[in-house]
Symmetry: C2
Subunit: 244 residues, 2 copies
C-alpha cells in the first residue's frame, strides 16, 4: 500500500500517501477523513504514528482537527491574504464578518503567455492561456487592478459563461466550474511608481507609489494553477511579520 522509499520514516510515507488521497479527491473537503483507529488498522501501524503524520499535515495547513468531530481537509481562505496586506477603513465593522471587496472583469481573452508567465505556470510558450483583467473595489473606490493568467486546458469552461456572472471571488468559481481547487500560493511583493495606465485605473496621481503583488497559486498536487499580478495604491498598504 505504501510504495514510497523504504528508507523514509513511516510517518513520512503515511503523510505522502495521505496527501495523495487528498490530491486525488479520494478524501473530499467538508467530509471528515477516517478515524485515527480506522487509519491505524488500514495502514497497520500504531495510532501514535498516525497522529504524527496527521500532526505534520495540520502544521502544513492541509488538515484541521476538531476534538469530538473529526479531522477535516482545510480550505485556505484567501480572502484573508488580501487583508494581511491592505488595511481598509471599515465603516462596516459593526456587522461582523469580513467584507469582501467587489470585483469587475474588465476583459477576457485567449492569448499566448509571455515568457515569465509560461515559466511560472510550467507551460510551453505556445500553449493557450486565458487572460483576465479584473478591478477590485472597496466601498466604491478602486483598491486593486489585476491581470490573471490561467492554463486553457484546465479552465476552458471559463470562456463559456458571461464575465458578469463571475462574482466577487474567483477561487470558488474555479472549483465549481472547472473542478480546480487552490490549496496554496506564493506571493512576492515589490514597489513601483504608477504608470499612466495604472494611475488611471486606480484613480491615483501619476508616479504615486504602487504595491505589486505577484501570486502563483497551486492545487493540492502542487501543480501551478494560476498566476496573477495585482497592483494597489501603496498608501493603503500595511503588513506585519513576526520574527523568532
Amino acid at each position: 500500500m505504501l510504495n514510497a522509499d523504504e528508507r523514509l520514516p513511516l510517518y513520512q510515507r503515511l503523510k505522502d500517501d495521505m496527501m495523495a488521497k487528498i490530491a486525488n479527491r479520494e478524501w473530499l473537503p467538508e467530509l471528515a477523513i477516517p478515524t485515527e483507529i480506522e487509519l491505524s488498522k488500514a495502514y497497520s501501524v500504531s495510532i501514535g504514528t498516525i497522529r504524527k503524520a496527521v500532526e505534520v499535515l495540520v502544521a502544513e495547513g492541509l488538515l484541521e482537527r476538531s476534538q469530538g468531530r473529526g479531522t477535516f481537509i482545510r480550505k485556505p481562505t484567501f480572502v484573508n491574504s488580501l487583508f494581511r496586506f491592505f488595511r481598509f477603513h471599515s465603516g462596516t465593522s459593526g456587522s461582523g464578518g469580513t467584507p469582501v471587496p467587489s470585483a469587475r472583469i474588465l476583459a477576457r481573452q485567449l492569448a499566448e503567455p509571455p515568457e515569465p508567465v509560461a515559466a511560472a505556470l510550467k507551460l510551453n510558450k505556445r500553449s493557450k492561456v486565458i487572460r483576465l483583467d479584473r478591478l477590485r473595489l472597496f466601498q466604491e473606490k478602486p483598491l486593486l487592478i489585476e491581470e490573471i493568467w490561467l492554463p486553457h486546458t484546465k479552465f476552458a469552461r471559463l470562456m463559456e459563461i458571461d464575465t458578469s456572472a463571475f462574482g466577487d471571488l474567483l477561487y470558488p468559481l474555479y472549483e465549481q466550474l472547472c473542478g480546480q481547487t487552490v490549496a496554496s500560493a506564493q506571493e512576492t511583493l515589490t514597489i513601483e511608481s504608477a504608470s499612466p495606465d495604472v494611475a488611471e485605473q486606480l484613480q491615483i496621481a501619476l508616479n504615486q507609489p504602487v504595491v505589486v503583488i505577484d501570486r502563483l497559486a497551486s492545487g493540492y498536487d502542487n501543480q501551478p494553477l494560476e498566476w496573477r499580478r495585482s497592483r494597489g495604491p501603496a498608501d493603503q498598504f500595511h503588513y506585519q511579520v513576526d520574527i523568532r
Copy 2:
C-alpha cells in the same frame, strides 16, 4: 515545582516552566539543556510528555534540537531579517557567507520618548530613553536610515563608550555590553514618499517611494527591549510569503 494552573495540560505547564528557565538564564544559550531522560526524572513525567513540551518550544523558535548532540537555546539571526526584505545586487556572492551592511552612528542622545515609542516600550512618558540615529550602507551606498529607541535603565552603558566603537551589528553589542538578549521581534511594513530629510540621507530624489519598517524587539521574557524605525529606498525592496 510546577505551580501553574492545575487545569492546563501537563506539557503546557512544562513548557511555561522551561520558558521561565530560559528567561531567567538558568539555562544558557550555546549550552545544551538537560537530557530528555534527566528532564523526565526532574519533573517526574514520562519522556513522551517532555518531548511534547520541547516540540512546542522548537515550533515557536525558542529551542533547536540536534540529533546526537542535544537540545539548545536558539538565537535568532536577525541579519537575515534584513535580507528577507531587501535584495542586494551582490557582486560578492562568490566568497560565500552573507555580507553584513556596514553601519555608522550619526547621533546619540538621552531623550524623553514620543507617545507611540513610550507605549511600544511600555514606559512612562517621563522615563529616560536613549535615541540613536544610524545609517546603514551596502557597497558604499545608503541602504537604510534608522532611528532606534532604548530604555535607559537597561542600556545605560551604551552612553559610556564611543559610538565609533559600536560596530556593524547592534544586537551582539546589547548582549555583551548590557546583558540584554533579543529573542524575538515584530515588524510592521508601510510605504511613504521620501521627505526632504530622508531623501537627502538616502541620496534619492524627493518623493521617491520609501519602505518603512517598524520593529519592536523583545527579550526571552517578552519584555520590549528596543523600538526602531528603518527607512530604505523602495526600488530595492522585495518580499516573499507562502500562504497555505
